[in-house]
Symmetry: C2
Subunit: 308 residues, 2 copies
């Protein structure tokens, strides 16, 4: 799946992943009205609204992008009905040929991490049959519990030719509180990155590992340092756009081959129609606004990579 | 809710939480057969089997225990159908008057943590109405992202009079890989514990804070040190029993008032009938075996606390 991701990034010239993190506030009124008229102002109605919203964006952008990254929390907040919308979104993105990075940030003790891995990127056994609980190709994993919380994901990914992105340096303002603390002169995030490089060797694709890392666009200097620590690991870069990361900040996350990083934008794309820049599209054409935002992001990244 | 938890622990003389972490392997054949005959060997059948299994245990133990801790991964592995069983289990435990600690180990950037908090311990807004996605009283939270990944949980918990347990030192073998690393001479877990103490002051109950910590029974010396760093924070102690923690290891986790800690046992209770010690109950009476295991654990803890 990492080979497929790299191939798609090269073909489309778009190291871009669209974060499908729908808030109900982002969903245009016409979609909410339709969903609520059918299911009422209920959790089911909310699930239907975000699913229809996502479907529109997928229909409008899937030929431009290699991957989507649904953030499961945005679905989980609506309980079971929200998670049904998550599942539907992943299945539809898969039909469209997209690589699905489930942003689930799970991680637990060994036996529990195994259950998460089986549910999200593997198959669960029920008597003599086996099933997929959810349909993702990659998931994000929290490293706080150490190797035995990460290894079960790697084991399942080996069987399935799928992968993970381990949180190394996250994009949020207080990420440094623990992640930047110095251990023998090196920040914790670098120690985690060294482990990611090591875990990555266990599960290599053609040129990159199936085991990647998350490093926030909001910390470009750290991105440059971490790029060197993890030369064979893909870096998933959140924080571009709405969180403050700019195209020009992103060059350090890439290798000299122009590969090695995939940049996420969520709000900046899925709620593009709410920005002044794309206001001309209006809520009815929200998906066209998203398409334009993808094209603009692609150009921004191309300039950043050419200009370095 | 922390006041209620403390009160129940005192009344029942049982600082015990039963981990509802059902693997299909734990579920006696008669329950699986019934579920599969009704729904087939499907995800729905698996969900039904684990729900019926849990119901039996809840019916047999709820008068003895203050709380249950369902581990969401064990349900999530079966996809939507598993999560329905999680939801049903929480709702039934609530009917039985139990405090529900959702072992979800979530944690993300601010806006995303807020969605998790809203979904698990708060209410989500849908148009003019609001709903609970899941029914938990406490949830476990991963601190790797720092304060702004934890604060949204605290904010929602303040509104709802609910609480969280933050991962400090986990029970698994490799937990030391990152958590034990020294920062200015102090391990990372202690730095996290200091933050927990600080966050805890923001949301105090009568004698203990709504913000607790997770510290594994498998690390009793660290438990003693952390008890002092977090005198007002309840410690949720996993790792007793099947993971290797013994009753005699647990005294250091408690304060002099005999309070301040709640010890989890999962497999040791819910799959008790599989142990030689409780084999006489047999699979038919698995829930009675669980009841006996709770009584034995209660005695083990009483001895540990009296003997210190």
């Amino acid at each position: 799946m990492i080979n497929q991701l790299v191939k798609k990034i090269e073909e489309l010239k778009a190291p871009i992943v669209v974060g499908l993190d729908p808030m109900l506030d982002y969903v245009p009124e016409q979609i909410k009205e339709k969903a609520f008229s059918e299911y009422g102002e209920t959790l089911e109605g909310a699930g239907e609204a975000i699913w229809q919203f996502n479907k529109g964006i997928l229909d409008a952008t899937s030929d431009l992008i290699p991957a989507v990254k649904p953030q499961i929390a945005m679905y989980e907040q609506f309980g079971i009905e929200g998670l049904k919308a998550f599942h539907k979104t992943c299945a539809y993105a898969q039909e469209k040929g997209l690589v699905i990075i489930g942003d689930i940030k799970r991680g637990d003790i060994g036996s529990t991490s195994k259950a998460y891995a089986v549910g999200h990127v593997g198959k669960v056994q029920v008597g003599s049959k086996s099933y997929r609980g959810f349909e993702e190709d990659f998931v994000t994993v929290n490293p706080y519990l150490g190797s035995d919380g990460v290894k079960p994901f790697i084991d399942v990914c080996k069987e399935e030719k799928k992968g993970i992105f381990v949180l190394v340096k996250t994009s949020n303002p207080s990420s440094g509180e623990f992640q930047d603390q110095l251990i023998d002169g090196k920040p914790l995030y670098e120690l985690v990155a060294q482990k990611v490089a090591q875990w990555g060797e266990e599960h290599m694709g053609d040129s990159y590992s199936y085991i990647g890392a998350v490093v926030g666009a909001t910390y470009p200097e750290m991105g440059a340092a971490l790029r060197k620590v993890m030369p064979k690991n893909y870096i998933l870069v959140p924080g571009y756009g709405a969180q403050g990361g700019k195209g020009s900040d992103l060059a350090p996350f890439f290798n000299k081959d122009g590969l090695g990083a995939i940049v996420n934008s969520s709000r900046g794309i899925i709620a593009a129609y709410k920005q002044e820049k794309y206001a001309k599209f209006g809520p009815e054409a929200y998906a066209d606004a998203s398409r334009q935002a993808v094209l603009d992001m692609k150009e921004d990244l191309e300039n950043a990579l050419v200009g370095r």
